[in-house]
Amino acid sequence: MKVLVPVKRVIDYNVKVRVKADNSGVELANVKMAMNPFDEIAVEQALRLKEAGGAEEVVVVSIGPAQNQETIRTALAMGADRGIHIEALHDIEPLAVAKLLKAVVERENPGLVLVGKQAIDDDCNQTGQMLAALLGWAQGTFVSALDVAGDTAKIVREVDGGLEHLEIKMPAIVSVDLRLNEPRYASLPNIMKAKKKPLDSLTVDDLGVDIKPRLTVVKVEEPAAREAGIKVADVKELVEKLKNEAKVI
């Protein structure tokens, strides 16, 4: 089985984002970028499947400008076998991403697509579900345990009230949640090796997909800042304030 893992390049999760002065978006210039953390978990899971003998090849795909090749190299350094870069200049909405990925799936015929449950930039949480819809495949979302056995997979999903166990038919899209695994760090020798691994480039036109945005961003703003309040001296004062000042208990 081949496993396909789409990876997104986003602002590093440790960076405090700033809204542009003209309210057109957030500042991306000279900001540290990294692989979306949920996608790292997806890459890790694909590698574990391969190491356990459940997958023969792990292919990563990323959509975006030339710098996305760095994100692909990161996944290759973790251990993925091959990369595909789809060149695109502007922000692409999840629906268009799903259409591009569908075209890649049709070329590559993976038995499983592992995606992060959401990207930490736009927080959409859509791409995996949309790709599953377009392919007519089963979808296992927000997954914290995955056990592939032949033409089915047993999954555990993180849901509002706790956990849910499902069985899904393969091939499938599985969107991964935080507790599925802890991604490995790439070692220096593996980073060197990754530079020689194959990385193909495709254009949006090659795949014949219309990526024109459907939504118009009217403005992007800073949220109202919350002001720090006061420090209380002890528990007695705290309870007194909550009762008489804030009137919440």
Binding site: D122, N125, L131, L163, E222
Partner: protein, 309 residues
């Protein structure tokens, strides 16, 4: 203009978050219909019909809809879509699972997790874990939307909508439900509780959450946790408040032994009153707290329980 709201429920109880989605639909304006799909939709349908402002309840009763499987629900919703200008769902794990599948089948770009309705086409939603707010306009013929429940009031009771049964379109055969491991608790549900008390890494051990539970029982509060506490194995994942866990906005949020990582703040910073108890007076949680207490939580929490009488 007609709006379809997908009803999230567990076959026994009408999901509270659906009421917030109805309220968002009221802000858009138009006839509001609720879709109830599930195994025991009869009882849920009656609850749905009693929601104020709902004109009609559509019921699809069938085992294939009982567990929120997106592969079965999406075609059902798509069959109804042409009659509606908007289809809304609460941004619960079920809503988040099902709606993008609907949107892709309809070739529509979804708007996730809205927190404000500007007009029938324009909505505000948080991006970067709430560190920025994006206002987007959709010119799609059908707007597919998920609604952040904490951003909208719950719709009131007092409606008497007509109930109409619609036909099922069967099981996709793509996925099947096995079982649930749901946390059972006498306490109110985290996302709708008026008071939430959460513990972080500072709790040191899962057993110490008993201290918070005692306080919670006195206040009628729900108990939550930071990601650090969940990752350390102190409490199950459904306790997690934060960007990747639950988003809460209670009247009172008490953060105990939580440093205040951006991740956590994203899930609770819209609470009306925030209390922080932490022994590190430099902890970032104090920058958002209305009332901060610099103290050892192992002294302060039992004292708090005593003070509450």
């Amino acid at each position: 203009m007609s709006i379809l709201v997908f009803c999230d429920h567990d076959n026994g109880q009408f999901g509270a978050a659906t009421l917030n989605a109805v309220s968002a639909a009221q802000k858009i304006g138009g006839d509001i219909h609720l879709l109830v799909a599930g195994d025991t939709s009869g009882t849920i349908a009656a609850q749905a019909a009693a929601v104020a402002g709902v004109a009609k309840v559509l019921v699809a009763d069938g085992a294939e809809y009982a567990h929120g499987l997106a592969e079965n629900l999406a075609p059902l919703i798509c069959d109804l879509a042409s009659q509606y200008s908007h289809i809304l769902a609460p941004a619960t794990t079920t809503g988040k699972n099902v709606m993008p599948r609907v949107a892709a089948l309809l070739d529509v770009m979804q708007i996730s997790d809205i927190i404000k309705v500007d007009d029938a086409n324009t909505f505000q939603r948080p991006i970067y874990a709430g560190n920025a707010l994006s206002t987007v306009r959709s010119d799609e013929a059908i707007k597919i939307i998920t609604v952040r429940s904490t951003a909208f009031e719950a719709a009131a009771e007092g409606g008497s909508a007509a109930i109409e049964t619609i036909s099922n379109n069967g099981d996709s055969g793509l996925s099947s439900y096995v079982k649930s491991e749901l946390s059972s608790s006498e306490r109110p549900e985290l996302t709708s509780a008026p008071i939430v008390i959460s513990g972080g890494r500072g709790m040191q051990d899962g057993a110490n959450f008993a201290m918070l539970e005692k306080v919670a029982d006195k206040l009628g509060a729900a108990v939550g946790a930071s990601r650090a506490a969940v990752d350390a194995g102190f409490v199950p994942n459904d306790y997690q408040v934060g960007q990747t866990g639950k988003v809460v906005a209670p009247d009172l949020y008490v953060a105990v032994g939580i440093s205040g990582a951006i991740q956590h703040l994203a899930g609770m910073k819209d609470s009306k009153v925030i209390v922080a108890i932490n022994k590190d007076d430099e902890a970032p949680i104090f920058q958002v707290a209305d009332f901060g207490l610099v103290a050892d939580l192992f002294d302060a929490v039992p004292e708090l329980e005593k003070e509450l009488g």
